[in-house]
């Protein structure tokens, strides 16, 4: 008997050793393919950064003849760029606040209750990002025209808040579903009002999910160009400023610098959001 047992455990370790080696070592071909796809996804970002230091003004010559940092100073002195940047930041801030309010309230209602029409409401919340942006854009524009409203700061916010709600909602509802219902019951049993339960039990649990959703909403709003084209009128947000440079290139060096700048501004919220959820399941579910 003892010998059989040891034999079994030897076999066991051999199997598990095999198992480990099979798990850690992905096939060589697969690893190369993965690396290739990652390079495809990320090399364009490196090029954007490289070109911001390019001395060549008139063309996208590669490799750049020499490098300089002078365009950064020049870009920040551009009044039109600064105005566009300020408009984008102000729009994103208010759109995020609106999305946080609408998304959180809706998620509180939807997380634990089943009612008639519940699926319709989730569809309604997802619809603005499920339909192509151009549909949302032209729909909002044509109703603004029908109502005789002029384009303004608020018409841009209107469009952005519409498609940002879902980001907050998805993050919040995923967290609420994971929060144990017995916590809420305990709070109520101990005599807390609904408001106290929200303030002291639900909100602390929900906070990081709201920050994560809010950050994504901010990044999306800051960067949005398709819906904005239809609701901005003559105003220029920073992505629209960049788009105008793309179709009629005048100041390539300044455009290159602004591109890097936009990348950095959107990268920060993404990193914060990822850090706040860490369990990456939430993020992969949100969609854009």
């Amino acid at each position: 008997m003892p010998s059989r047992k040891s034999e079994h455990s030897v076999l066991g370790t051999r199997y598990s050793a095999l198992g480990v080696s099979m798990k850690t070592r992905l096939p060589l071909g697969l690893r190369f393919a993965t690396l290739g796809v990652l390079l495809f996804l990320h090399v364009p970002f490196l090029l954007i950064v490289l070109y911001a230091f390019n001395t060549e003004e008139a063309a996208f010559t590669f490799p750049p003849p020499a490098l300089t940092t002078k365009w950064f100073a020049e870009a920040f002195q551009r009044e039109d760029m600064r105005e566009a940047l300020s408009l984008s930041l102000r729009v994103a801030a208010i759109a995020t606040v609106l999305a946080l309010i609408l998304g959180t309230l809706a998620s509180l209602a939807m997380a634990r209750s089943k009612f008639f029409g519940r699926d319709v409401i989730s569809l309604l919340i997802i619809l603005p990002i499920a339909l192509p942006g151009i549909v949302t854009g032209i729909a909002l524009r044509s109703s603004l025209k029908l109502l005789g409203l002029d384009f303004s700061y608020w018409t841009i916010v209107l469009g952005h808040a519409t498609f940002c709600v879902v980001l907050v909602f998805n993050n919040a509802i995923a967290r609420l579903r994971r929060t144990s219902g017995s916590l809420l019951e305990a709070s109520m049993d101990l005599g807390a009002t609904s408001f106290q339960t929200f303030r002291y039990v639900i909100l602390p649990n929900l906070a990081t999910a709201l920050v994560a959703g809010g950050m994504l909403a901010f990044a999306l709003s800051f960067d949005e160009v398709i819906v904005t084209t239809f609701t901005a009128g003559q105003q220029q947000t920073i992505p629209i400023w960049l788009l105008s440079q793309l179709t009629r290139p005048r100041d390539r060096p300044v455009t290159n610098v602004v591109a890097v700048f936009i990348l950095l501004i959107t990268l920060l919220p993404i990193l914060i959001s990822t850090y706040m959820t860490r369990n990456l399941d939430d993020l992969s579910r949100t969609g854009k």
């Binding site: 850690t24 992905l26 993965t34 290739g36 796809v37 990652l38 495809f40 996804l41 364009p44 970002f45 090029l47 954007i48 070109y51 590669f62 609408l102 998304g103 809706a106 409401i121 309604l124 499920a130 339909l131 192509p132 942006g133 151009i134 549909v135 032209i138 729909a139 909002l140 524009r141 044509s142 109703s143 808040a161 519409t162 709600v165 009002t193 609904s194 408001f195 994504l216 990044a219 999306l220 960067d223 160009v225 398709i226 992505p239 960049l242 788009l243 793309l246 179709t247 591109a259 936009i262 990348l263 959107t266 990268l267 919220p269 993404i270 990456l280 993020l283 992969s284 579910r285 969609g287």
Partner: protein, 301 residues
């Protein structure tokens, strides 16, 4: 005071629910759905040929215009591109998704996820701009081709009808590459998620029963990733259908649905036709979503 308010709502659950939902419902239901219905309504108006004014009476003339051969070509071109982009992104996404799902190191998995999420959330317009740099005549792509001595191959490819053009940045291939690049992360994430969900003992059972890796891949792994593929394709398909910026910046001058909508509602002032054109992606996506739901895409989102 607060306590009595709290009790009041506790006893009236429906009212509390309604109050919580009201802001979002008012915003999305009135502003958003209202606008969509307004758009739908305007697609049944018509443009007066003489005055160029929109006539607000029921007419199917916009929809009749949709079926002229020029407009059908636009729709066909856009849907064709959406299909090709979707197929290509499934193939390109798979190895990366597979590595994410099958690596045994949690740190590596988090890093790989982050490397997919970063391009997904970072600026769309900057990423399109990057391809303008890459595909420019004096840019990186041609430089690499020259270093490898492959100009002949590139020129032969560009001479081909349909996919070719004067240069890559003015060709359907260029448009395709940028679409693929921009939407790829949307395909990687759901495929990786559905691969992660495959129980390992299914793969062991397949190999125990004598299935070679190849057979296991096609008969066990692939069928189980269909929901993920369907979920990812909702994004790649819908986003390609509605995009008007990429074909305008990198592409030949043949228009896509989005560009026609933009022109018709803007300079042409033909809102009814623009509205009828937007109904096309809505209908295609509605059908697509129905099929995707049957394939289990909504559980994989």
């Amino acid at each position: 005071m607060l306590r009595s308010v709290s009790t009041f709502f506790y006893q009236r659950k429906t009212l509390a629910l309604l109050l919580l939902l009201a802001p979002a419902l008012l915003w999305l239901g009135v502003i958003y759905l209202g606008s969509l219905f307004g758009l739908l309504l305007q697609s049944f108006f018509r443009l007066d040929d003489f005055t160029g004014q929109v006539v607000r009476e029921f007419s199917l003339s916009s929809y009749r215009q949709l079926f002229t051969s020029a407009n059908l070509a636009v729709i066909g071109r856009t849907v064709g591109m959406a299909l090709v982009v979707t197929l290509a992104s499934i193939i390109v996404a798979f190895p990366l998704a597979y590595s994410i799902a099958k690596t045994s190191s949690p740190t590596l998995r988090s890093i790989l996820y982050l490397l997919v999420l970063m391009p997904l959330w970072s600026s769309y317009i900057v990423r399109v701009y990057a391809w303008k740099l890459i595909l420019a005549k004096e840019g990186v792509f041609n430089w690499v081709v020259q270093q490898l001595g492959l100009e002949g191959v590139l020129n032969a490819f560009l001479a081909l009808p349909a996919v070719g053009g004067p240069s890559l940045s003015i060709s359907a291939t260029g448009t395709f590459l940028v679409f693929l690049y921009i939407w790829l992360p949307y395909m990687v994430l759901p495929i990786a998620a559905s691969l992660e969900r495959i129980p390992k003992n299914l793969l062991e059972a397949s190999s125990d029963l004598g299935g070679k890796p190849n057979l296991t891949f096609w008969r066990v792994i692939m069928p189980l990733t269909v929901p993920g593929i369907a979920a990812g394709s909702i994004f790649t398909f819908s986003l390609t259908l509605g995009d008007y910026i990429i074909p305008g910046i990198v592409g030949n001058s043949q228009p896509f649905i989005g560009q026609v909508v933009l022109i018709q509602q803007g300079t042409a002032g033909n809102i009814p036709l623009a509205a009828a054109f937007t109904v096309v992606p809505i209908v295609i996506m509605a059908v697509y979503l129905l099929v995707a739901r049957r394939l289990g895409a909504f559980d994989a989102l």
